[in-house]
């Protein structure tokens, strides 16, 4: 039997549709435990490829006969070998094209909604890593928020819509992924906006993004208000788009809130974080639809694969918004934090322009989950 390649896009469709899939992950146990393909109805077997070099007989009875099987490894080479061995035993299996490397880089655009006067808002779901970025399109112009380093995806998507990218924003200096904002701005002539308080060490030109800035996309149709909301970083800034959407960056997520420690300032920034979540956001309309820069777990995905929720619903349901006691809040966001993202210091330096690792190195730095939140 032949072995088929399954693309990250096909796997993403299965995640969104809550389909079943049996994932045979042949990476090291540690790598698997740290980070894997998540799907609500996915089941798993992890056995390193090097334990199967003498044959796959020993795992044959652990594999289902009535379910699609996907063999996964880091870069695809080992998964092809194991898939072929399984195929020789008579099983029909696929391997993940490009492995977890490709999975980490896949972006799935999902339309979040139409804007007043004909614009559109898209969310780019980086399904393997939990990063979310955005494109606001109106009247032949596009703005991008929190772009990943897979810059071609945004540029081609905008071209497909016949829109010219005119503004690129980062809500804050990212520590979990390498920003594509500067590259997109360079390649398209767009303006690159960064909060100046996060940009004190950057070595390139940028447009300072400050509270109250209004940026217009298209013919005065869409306004993007900048709203200063420190806490994850000192410069963290949210956006209100079209008086309908709140792009919350890494301050507020669907089922969690931002962590204040990734720039080494946890104790100092706890108060800012609390003030942003409990006072600044409180003053906003509860009807605003929150669009965060991350999701943590696959349960946060809506039916269509998008990640969003009404601000009012989050005030009712998100644990991080419902801690009355300040000390308890301080404890939540400074103690027992999840491990820090892989290579987060180097990622911050890359985003400041201080270091310029090559593509291979950038990929390696970003491997793993994002871990920007606390629950």
């Amino acid at each position: 039997m032949t072995v088929k390649a399954m693309t990250s896009k096909e796997v993403t469709t299965k995640v969104f549709n809550k389909e079943k899939l049996f994932v045979l992950d042949v990476r090291n146990e540690g790598d698997f435990q740290d980070w894997k393909i998540e799907g609500e109805n996915f089941s798993y077997l992890n056995i390193p490829y090097f334990d199967l070099l003498d044959g796959v007989e020993e795992i044959m009875n652990e594999l289902p006969s009535d379910q699609e099987i996907l063999v996964v490894c880091a870069k695809e080479g080992s998964s092809i070998m194991i898939a072929e061995m399984l195929s020789d035993e008579g099983l029909e299996v696929s391997y993940l094209q490009g492995g977890m490397k490709a999975w980490s880089e896949h972006l799935e655009p999902v339309k979040v909604g139409d804007l007043e006067n004909g614009g559109e808002l898209y969310q780019f779901v980086r399904i393997g890593k939990g990063c979310l970025s955005y494109m606001v399109v109106s009247n032949g112009e596009a703005a991008i928020v929190d772009a990943t380093r897979m810059t071609d995806v945004y540029i081609q998507f905008a071209e497909g819509l016949g829109a010219k990218i005119t503004h690129v924003f980062d809500t804050h200096l990212h520590a979990d992924h390498i920003s594509g904002g500067r590259t997109i701005a360079q390649n398209t002539g767009a303006t690159y906006w960064l909060p100046p308080k996060d940009a004190t060490e950057v070595i390139f030109e940028y447009q300072p993004l400050e509270n109250g800035n209004d940026v217009t996309i298209g013919h005065t149709t869409i306004n993007i208000h900048a709203l200063y909301s420190p806490g994850h970083t000192i410069g963290s800034t949210s956006f209100v788009v079209d008086e309908k959407y709140l792009l919350s960056g890494d301050i507020l997520f669907i089922d969690s809130i931002g962590r204040p420690d990734l720039a080494g300032m946890a104790e100092d920034w706890v108060k800012d974080l609390r003030e942003s979540l409990y006072e600044r956001y409180r003053k906003l309309s509860e009807e605003l639809i929150v669009l965060p820069a991350h999701f943590m777990i696959i349960d946060e995905l809506n039916e269509d694969g998008s990640v969003s929720e009404k601000l009012g619903t989050l005030y009712a349901q998100n644990h991080g918004l419902n801690i009355d006691d300040e000390n308890e809040f301080r404890k939540l966001v400074t103690e027992n934090l999840p491990p820090q993202p892989n290579a987060y210091q180097e990622i911050r330096q890359t985003n400041m322009g201080i270091i310029s690792p090559d593509d291979e190195k950038q990929r390696e730095m970003e491997i793993g989950p994002n871990r920007c939140a606390v629950r």
Binding site: N28, E29, G30, D31, P48, Y49, F50, D51, L53, C73, A74, K75, G77, S78, M81, E364
Partner: protein, 191 residues
């Protein structure tokens, strides 16, 4: 950079996963128990994989040196040395040796493991004389010195201690169990 002696060098440069491990496994079958394999690889994932593969097969992963883009992995084929009976009567525990070292007693520590094992993890100021070279290098030691012989688990050092005693060394002590459980300070070529 210091060269580390190996019984066999496998060139897996330019090969992508899974080939470095596939070739390592094959090369290992050609070695005798206790011998050292050096694997040259450029695939960055090979370090974690070789380490984990060695763990699951019982071979000893000794360490990795970086030489530009090339990774040099060192492995020692499992030897099953745990099973043998020890014969040298004069023994000391790891702790007893540690106390001697801390007191700066005038003693000599001879490490009879393979050079590659020694390179990645050894007692500071110990002298490396691999078991296989001992007979020809006896002149590097003094017969009157208080000599502590270490290896990984106490078996090779037992043979070495016997050998030294046969050759007229009067104060030879076998250290048990040896480097596998050593809690004192160590040195490595990597730091």
């Amino acid at each position: 950079m210091n060269e580390i002696k190996a019984n066999l060098i496998l060139d897996a440069k330019g090969l992508a996963c899974p080939m470095p491990i596939v070739k390592t496994k094959k090369a290992m079958t050609t070695l005798e128990a206790g011998q050292v394999l050096e694997v040259l690889a450029t695939d960055k994932g090979s370090t974690a994989d070789i380490k984990a593969w060695a763990g699951s097969t019982g071979h000893q992963y000794l360490g990795t040196l970086e030489d530009g883009d090339v990774l040099k992995h060192y492995l020692r084929k499992s030897s099953g040395e745990e099973a043998t009976e020890r014969k040298h009567p004069n023994v000391a525990t790891n702790d007893e040796l540690l106390t001697k070292l801390q007191n700066n007693d005038s003693i000599v520590v001879v490490d009879v493991r393979e050079a590659a094992e020694y390179a990645f993890d050894h007692i500071p100021n110990s002298q490396s004389i691999p078991m296989g070279e001992l007979e020809s290098r006896l002149n590097e030691l003094n017969k009157e010195d208080e000599i502590y012989v270490v290896c990984r688990t106490g078996n090779r050092s037992d043979f070495a201690a016997q050998k030294l005693a046969e050759n007229g060394f009067t104060n030879v002590i076998n250290v048990l169990p040896g480097m596998s459980q050593w809690t004192g300070e160590t040195k490595s070529i990597n730091n």
